[in-house]
C-alpha cells in the first residue's frame, strides 16, 4: 500500500516536472541553476534549500543542482561564487548573514565582499533568544543583567562561536547596557544550548529554531528575544527593545548571485521570491518545519546586508583587541 502511494507520488512529481515548463515562463539565463552551499548536507542551509527549491523549480521552470563546498564557515563557497563562477545567472549561492560579512570583517585572508554579490532574496531569519536552565535563579532578563552588574565578567554566556550572530549580539547587549559577560564560544548553537540545559553555563544566546522544543518541554527558559515585536510562538517572552536595548538580531539565510549577472535574470529570480512571499502552501510548509519566514528581496536585501556590514564592522573594530588578546 505504502509502495503504491510512493509510486503514485513519483509519477505525479515526474509529470509535474514535465508539465511545468509548458505552463510557466522559462528562466532566461540557463536551463539549470547551480546552488553553491557553504555548509555540509543536512545542515541549516540544506534545510532551506530542500524547502525552497522545489517551489522555485516550478516557478522558474529550471532544475536546481546543489553543490556542497563546506569549509571556513562558508567562505570557500562564497569566494568561489564571487571570484570563479560564471556571471550568467546560472550559479547562485545560499548566503548566511551575518556570517557572510563577519567572515571577511574578521579575517584579512578572506577577500570577497558583498560588493561582489547580487543579493536576490533573504528567505528565513531565525531570531536570537536568551535562554537559561530551567532551574536557573534568573527568572527575568533583569535578574540576569543584575547578576552581571554585581559580579562583572563572571556570568557565563554561551554562544555559537566567535563570528556568529550570537557572539555579536552578546557584544551589542554588553555595549548597550555597559555590562561585561564571560563569553563562552561553542561549536554551534546545539552544544551551546546543551551546556545551558546541563547548567554548565549561566545562559545561552541562541536561536529560536534550535531551542523552541526545549522551551516547550520546560528544560530551558526563555528570557528575551531579539525581535522587533513579540513572537507569536512565545507571547510571554519580552523583546529586548521593550527593555530599551535596541538589539534586533538573528541568523538569516537567503540567496545571492555573483555581481554583474544579466538584469533580466535578476528580475526573474526576484519575482519568483516575491511570488513565494504570497504562497499560502509555502508558508504552511515552512511553519511545519519551524522555519521563520522573512522574505526580503532585491535592493532591500542588499540594504540589509550593507547595514549589517557597517554595524558588525564597527563592533569588531572595537572588540578586536580584547578578543584576540
Amino acid at each position: 500500500m505504502k509502495m503504491k502511494i510512493l509510486a503514485v507520488s513519483i509519477i505525479a512529481s515526474v509529470s509535474a516536472v514535465m508539465a511545468s515548463p509548458m505552463v510557466l515562463a522559462d528562466y532566461s539565463a540557463s536551463n539549470e541553476i547551480k546552488v553553491l552551499q557553504g555548509f555540509k548536507p543536512g545542515g541549516g542551509s540544506d534545510t532551506l534549500a530542500q524547502l525552497t527549491q522545489p517551489y522555485l523549480k516550478e516557478l522558474l521552470g529550471v532544475d536546481f543542482v546543489n553543490e556542497y563546498i563546506p569549509g571556513a564557515t562558508g567562505a570557500i563557497a562564497w569566494t568561489r561564487l564571487t571570484k570563479q563562477s560564471p556571471k550568467d545567472g546560472g550559479t547562485i549561492s545560499i548566503t548566511n548573514t551575518p556570517m557572510l560579512m563577519t567572515n571577511y570583517i574578521m579575517n584579512d585572508s578572506i577577500t570577497y565582499s558583498i560588493d561582489e554579490l547580487t543579493p536576490i532574496a533573504n528567505v528565513v531569519t531565525d531570531p536570537g533568544i536568551i535562554v537559561v536552565p530551567s532551574d536557573s535563579p534568573y527568572q527575568t532578563v533583569e535578574d540576569l543583567f543584575q547578576a552581571a552588574e554585581e559580579n562583572p565578567g563572571t556570568v557565563t554566556i554561551g554562544n555559537s562561536g566567535v563570528g556568529g550572530d550570537d557572539f555579536f549580539s552578546t557584544i551589542i547587549v554588553e555595549q548597550a547596557t555597559g555590562l561585561a559577560f564571560k563569553k563562552v564560544p561553542f561549536q554551534g548553537d546545539g552544544p551551546s544550548a546543551t551546556a545551558a540545559m546541563g547548567g554548565k553555563i549561566d545562559a545561552s544566546f541562541n536561536n529560536l529554531g534550535n531551542v523552541y522544543g526545549h522551551i516547550q518541554s520546560g528544560s530551558l527558559r526563555a528570557l528575551a528575544v531579539f525581535t522587533k515585536e513579540r513572537l507569536e510562538m512565545l507571547p510571554d517572552v519580552p523583546t529586548l527593545r521593550e527593555k530599551d536595548i535596541d538589539v534586533v538580531a538573528g541568523s538569516s539565510r537567503g540567496y545571492s548571485a555573483p555581481a554583474g549577472i544579466p538584469d533580466e535574470a535578476r528580475q526573474e529570480l526576484i519575482a519568483a521570491f516575491e511570488t513565494l512571499k504570497q504562497d499560502q502552501e509555502f508558508q504552511a510548509v515552512a511553519r511545519e518545519r519551524a522555519l521563520n519566514l522573512d522574505i526580503v528581496t532585491g535592493d532591500d536585501y542588499q540594504q540589509m546586508m550593507k547595514d549589517m556590514e557597517d554595524q558588525y564592522g564597527v563592533i569588531w573594530n572595537e572588540v578586536k583587541e580584547e578578543v584576540s588578546g
Binding site: 505504502k2 548536507p41 564557515t73 566567535v162 551546556a195 540545559m197 522544543g213 528544560s219
Partner: protein
C-alpha cells in the same frame, strides 16, 4: 515507559515494506561503509531528501538501518585492504589486516560481523529500556568532563605504540600538533593556515586518516607486486566463527559494547573514539598483550562491538533529550524535524509512536545486518582475487574519490596524498600512524573543552577538581600513564613478592 507506544512502534516496523527497506538500507550502508572516505554521516545526509516523501516510520527505518550497516561495513575494507572504510574502523586495521595476511580474512570478517551484531543489539536494547534514565546523565557532561575524557583518551597512545614507546609518543604529538591547524575557537583567528582559506576549518581528519593508512598500503603492494606471492588477502577460511570462539570473546564484546554505548551517549564523541577506547581496554585486560597488533581476534571484536554499540548509545540523548550524540544522529534528528517533529524531551511522549519505531528499526537493522553481512561479505572474495598491482591502483582511486567526496574539495585530495607519502615514510621508519590518528581525533576535543573550561572556571585550574566525574576520569588517566612506567612494574613485582612470602 508507555507500553502501548512501544508496541505501536514494533507494529510500525514489522510491515513487508519496512522490513525490505531495512534490508535494503543495511546493504546500502554496508557498501557505503566499505568505501573509504564515505562515512555513515555522509550517506545519511545524501539519503535524507529521499525520505521526505515517505511516511515517518518507513523513512526512519531506512535511515537507521543505513547507519547500522555503515558501522559494520567500515571493517570490510579495514580487514581486506588495510584501508578503514569509515573513521570508526581505524582500530580494526591493527589486528584485522594481520589476520587476513595470515589467511584468516574470513575469520576476521566473521568475528567483526558477530561482534558488530552483538554490540549493536546491546545498544538497541539499552535504547529501548534505559533511554529516559540514561538520557538525563548526558547533561552532566559539560566542557570540564569532556576535557577529562579527552585526556584519558590521549593516554591510550602509550599502549598503542607498537615497538618503541618514544616513536609512539612522537607520532601522537605530531597528531596533536596537526590538529591545532585552523581557526582558534576563542579568538576566531586562523592558526598555521598560511592565509589559505582551505585550512581555516582545520584538517578534516578523515582526509588524514585515508592518506595515513591507505596510501602506504597501496605503495607497499606495488613494491612487492613483481614477486609471485600475493600479499592482499583472500577469504579462504570459514566466515561463521566457531561457537567456542564467540563464547570466549563474549566478556570482551560485552565490555566493548558498554564502552560503545557510554561513548555514544556523550555528545562530541562517536564511533571513532569508542573503537580506540575498546581496543585499548581489550588489550589492558588481555593475558597475552604481545599478540595484539599481530592478528588477535579480540583486537577485531573489541572495536567492532564498540563502534556498532555507539549507534544506540548516540541515539539515547537524541531521543531522550533532543541532543544529538554524534554527527550521524544530528542528521537523524534533522530527519525527525522534516517530519514535523521538533527535537526536545517530548520525543518519547508526544511523538512516542515515531520514536519507538526508530528504536525498533535499530534493533531489526542489527538482525538484518547479520543476514546481509553473511551473504554479502563472501562476495568480497572477488575483490581480493585481483592482482596486487590492480588492487593498489583501486585503493588509490578509492582514496582520491573518498577524499574529494568529503567536502567536494580538490585541495583535500592533495592533502590526502601528502599525508599518504608522509605515512609511507613513517612506515619505513617504523613509526605507527595509529597514535597520530588518535591525536588528530582527540586534539580538537581536548583544546576546545580546555578553553571553554577555563572560561567557565574564571581561569582557575581548580575547575577540573570541582567536578566529581572529571576527577575520577583524570585519576584513571593518571593510573593509565603510571601503569606504563617502570615505577608501576616495580610496585607490581614487589607486591607479588610480598604476597608469595606471606
Amino acid at each position: 515507559m508507555d507500553t502501548s507506544l512501544v508496541l505501536t512502534g514494533l507494529s510500525n516496523v514489522v510491515t513487508l515494506t519496512n522490513i525490505s527497506l531495512i534490508l535494503g538500507g543495511t546493504l546500502l550502508g554496508l557498501f557505503v561503509g566499505a568505501m573509504p572516505g564515505l562515512s555513515a554521516t555522509m550517506a545519511l545526509a545524501l539519503l535524507l531528501p529521499l525520505t521526505f516523501s515517505m511516511d515517518p516510520a518507513t523513512g526512519l527505518s531506512m535511515l537507521a538501518s543505513l547507519y547500522v550497516g555503515a558501522s559494520y561495513g567500515g571493517s570490510i575494507a579495514a580487514i581486506l585492504l588495510r584501508t578503514p572504510g569509515t573513521p570508526a574502523a581505524a582500530a580494526t586495521v591493527l589486528d584485522g589486516f594481520p589476520l587476513s595476511q595470515q589467511g584468516h580474512a574470513g575469520k576476521a570478517l566473521g568475528i567483526s560481523l558477530f561482534a558488530s551484531f552483538f554490540g549493536g543489539l546491546m545498544s538497541g536494547v539499552a535504547l529501548l529500556t534505559a533511554a529516559p534514565l540514561l538520557g538525563v546523565m548526558v547533561l552532566k557532561f559539560g566542557p570540564v568532563e569532556l576535557f577529562a575524557i579527552a585526556v584519558l583518551g590521549i593516554t591510550i597512545i602509550g599502549s598503542l605504540s607498537q615497538g618503541s614507546v618514544i616513536s609512539g609518543l612522537l607520532s601522537g604529538a605530531l597528531g596533536l600538533l596537526v590538529s591545532t591547524i585552523g581557526m582558534d575557537l576563542t579568538t576566531g583567528t586562523p592558526r598555521m593556515a598560511f592565509g589559505n582559506i582551505n585550512l581555516f576549518s582545520g584538517i578534516e581528519f578523515t582526509v588524514a586518516l585515508i592518506g595515513l593508512f591507505s596510501i602506504p598500503q597501496a605503495l607497499t603492494l606495488i613494491e612487492h607486486s613483481h614477486g609471485a606471492g600475493k600479499v592482499a588477502s583472500k577469504i579462504t577460511d570459514r566466515l561463521i566463527p566457531r561457537f567456542r570462539e564467540i563464547t570466549q570473546l563474549m566478556p570482551n564484546i560485552l565490555r566493548s559494547g558498554c564502552i560503545g554505548i557510554a561513548t555514544g551517549l556523550i555528545p562530541g564523541t562517536g564511533g571513532d573514539t569508542a573503537s580506540w577506547f575498546a581496543y585499548n581496554e581489550s588489550k589492558r585486560f588481555a593475558k597475552d598483550k604481545s599478540r595484539y597488533g599481530k592478528g588477535e581476534i579480540a583486537g577485531v571484536a573489541a572495536p567492532e562491538a564498540a563502534n556498532n554499540a555507539v549507534v544506540g548509545g548516540a541515539l539515547i540523548p537524541t531521543i531522550a533529550l533532543g541532543i544529538p550524540g554524534s554527527s550521524s544522529t544530528a542528521i537523524l534528528l534533522g530527519a525527525l524535524m522534516v517530519q514535523g517533529i521538533l527535537p526536545g524531551p517530548n520525543l518519547l511522549t508526544d511523538y512516542g509512536d515515531v520514536t519507538y519505531t526508530l528504536i525498533w528499526a535499530v534493533i531489526f537493522a542489527n538482525v538484518g545486518l547479520l543476514l546481509v553481512g553473511l551473504l554479502f561479505t563472501k562476495a568480497c572474495v572477488s575483490v581480493t582475487k585481483v592482482p596486487d598491482a590492480f588492487v593498489a591502483c583501486a585503493i588509490i582511486t578509492l582514496c582520491i574519490i573518498g577524499a574529494f567526496a568529503i567536502n567536494n574539495s580538490l585541495f583535500e585530495v592533495g592533502l590526502m596524498l601528502g599525508f599518504g607519502l608522509f605515512g609511507y615514510w613513517l612506515n619505513k621508519a617504523g613509526v605507527s600512524p595509529a597514535p597520530m590518528v588518535i591525536g588528530l581525533i582527540l586534539g580538537p576535543v581536548m583544546e576546545t573543552s580546555f578553553q571553554q573550561s577555563m572560561l567557565i572556571g574564571n581561569d582557575s585550574y581548580t575547575v577540573f577538581l570541582e567536578s566529581p566525574i572529571a576527577v575520577v576520569l583524570l585519576c584513571i588517566a593518571a593510573l593509565s600513564v603510571l601503569q606504563a612506567t617502570p615505577i608501576f612494574r616495580w610496585v607490581q613485582v614487589s607486591c607479588r613478592r610480598r604476597i608469595k612470602q606471606s
